[in-house]
């Protein structure tokens, strides 16, 4: 039997959750001895693959690109994990929600810019009106709150999922 296929995705987050994943240290060898890492910021693969068993999604859905990606991820993933507070609640990226996109962009790219004042309209994806947790758009199988979730919790979660157990993530909570 082939090994379970694990992917990680980085949407609108600070990469802190991925850093916490890397904090598994030598336990990474244990996890990725039992599973294949098939996609993510730590892997050089361009397209999100088919038949992913477990995918950890860091970050909220903030742009048109994020939205396209989360639908694709859901379609191709068996167990989708909302990985960290941004994915779970929209957390810090969601702090812009009461402000609105236009005033936000003007504040960042015009009022507070010293050079090249102007809102970028090419290359970077367009922002959605609000930044939302991923469960506003797709079904989520497991929620792992925390900013970031502690490496021990990530280990327990992956260990449970790879062993086919329903994950018990006691101790995961907002903030921290």
């Amino acid at each position: 039997m082939s090994k379970p296929r694990v992917a990680t995705v980085w949407l609108d987050g600070c990469s802190g959750c991925h850093m916490s994943l890397v904090d598994l240290d030598e336990r990474l060898l244990d996890i990725f001895g039992r599973a294949d890492l098939v996609y993510g910021p730590l892997v050089d693969v361009k397209e999100f693959p088919e038949d992913v068993d477990v995918c950890l999604v860091e970050g909220s859905v903030s742009s048109e690109d994020d939205l396209e990606r989360i639908f694709k991820v859901r379609e191709r993933t068996k167990v989708l994990v909302a990985f960290g507070d941004c994915a779970v609640t929209s957390n810090v990226p969601g702090m812009r929600n009461p402000i609105g996109v236009q005033p936000l962009l003007e504040c960042a790219y015009i009022e507070n810019a010293d050079i090249n004042k102007g809102i970028p309209d090419r290359i970077i994806p367009r922002l959605l009106p609000t930044s939302q947790p991923i469960n506003r758009f797709v079904d989520v199988d497991v929620f792992l709150p925390g900013c970031p979730p502690h490496a021990d919790l990530i280990y327990t979660l992956l260990d449970d999922l790879l062993a086919g157990r329903t994950p018990e993530v006691a101790g995961a909570r907002f903030g921290r």
């Binding site: 609640t89 929600n97 929620f143 995961a172 909570r173 903030g175």
Partner: protein
């Protein structure tokens, strides 16, 4: 001598004096009923509905902090149904304002965050309201961040009942409800505020805080001095 009533809470035989609430009797007997607006020493307002319990023979859930005990009452304070209700109430509190624990002054010192943890609220099924509510940092020592306010009204009651200043009040209704200082003038211009800091001490969340505190450094320990102050004031006829 006041009349003593005997009753059961979660199947345990307990007793209390007539006039005591279910919450008070539970507290005296070490039975934990969650609640965010109740604070010993302040008059209860029944604002948060987290303390709801089932009373045998009654079709409706009752708020333990504002329901008086009665002889022979059978109270259920913990059940699957009540947990569901409390989880839903907690979720609504989070969704009504903008809670971002990771960058909050009260991170890890917050009664709402603890409650979510305790009830295993790990996400929200409903969308956030994301209201544009402000911060008033005009006071020399303190600030209020309405993004984190849960409208428990502890500040209103502490300022009125303990300090006697009555600086805080409530304005508007429904989703527009806000606590305000002196009919809506900036806190820093309040002629009634004595800067005692009691409102800050009783606030269960990161809404009221001392200025200059970095993220996650708010101290929000329940203050045992409140009941003492109240008894003291009553004895002196204040």
């Amino acid at each position: 001598m006041s009349t003593v009533h005997t009753l059961t809470i979660d199947g345990r035989d307990v007793a209390g004096n007539e006039g005591q609430t279910i919450m008070e009797v539970a507290e005296e007997n070490g039975i934990d009923i969650p609640g965010l607006c109740h604070l010993p020493g302040l008059h209860d307002r029944g604002a948060c509905r987290l303390c709801v319990v089932e009373i045998e023979g009654s079709p409706k859930l009752a708020a333990a902090c504002v329901t008086q005990i009665a002889e022979g009452m059978h109270v259920t304070a913990h059940s699957e149904k009540l947990e569901d209700h409390r989880r839903a109430a907690t979720e609504m509190i989070f969704l009504e304002r903008n809670h971002v624990c990771s960058v909050c002054v009260a991170n890890n010192h917050c009664e709402l965050q603890d409650l979510a943890d305790e009830l295993r609220v790990t996400h929200f099924d409903l969308p956030r309201i994301s209201p544009a509510v402000g911060i008033d940092a005009s006071h020399r020592l303190f600030a209020i961040d309405h993004n984190r306010c849960i409208l428990c009204l502890r500040c209103v009651r502490a300022c009125d009942e303990i300090e006697g200043a009555h600086t805080w009040d409530v304005m508007h209704r429904g989703l527009e409800t806000r606590v305000q200082t002196d009919m809506g003038i900036p806190w820093g211009e309040s002629p009634t505020c004595t800067s005692c800091g009691k409102c800050v001490q009783v606030c269960p969340t990161g809404a009221l805080f001392e200025k200059g505190r970095p993220v996650a450094s708010g101290s929000k320990t329940k203050r045992p001095f409140l009941p003492w102050l109240r008894v003291h004031q009553e004895e002196r006829g204040l």
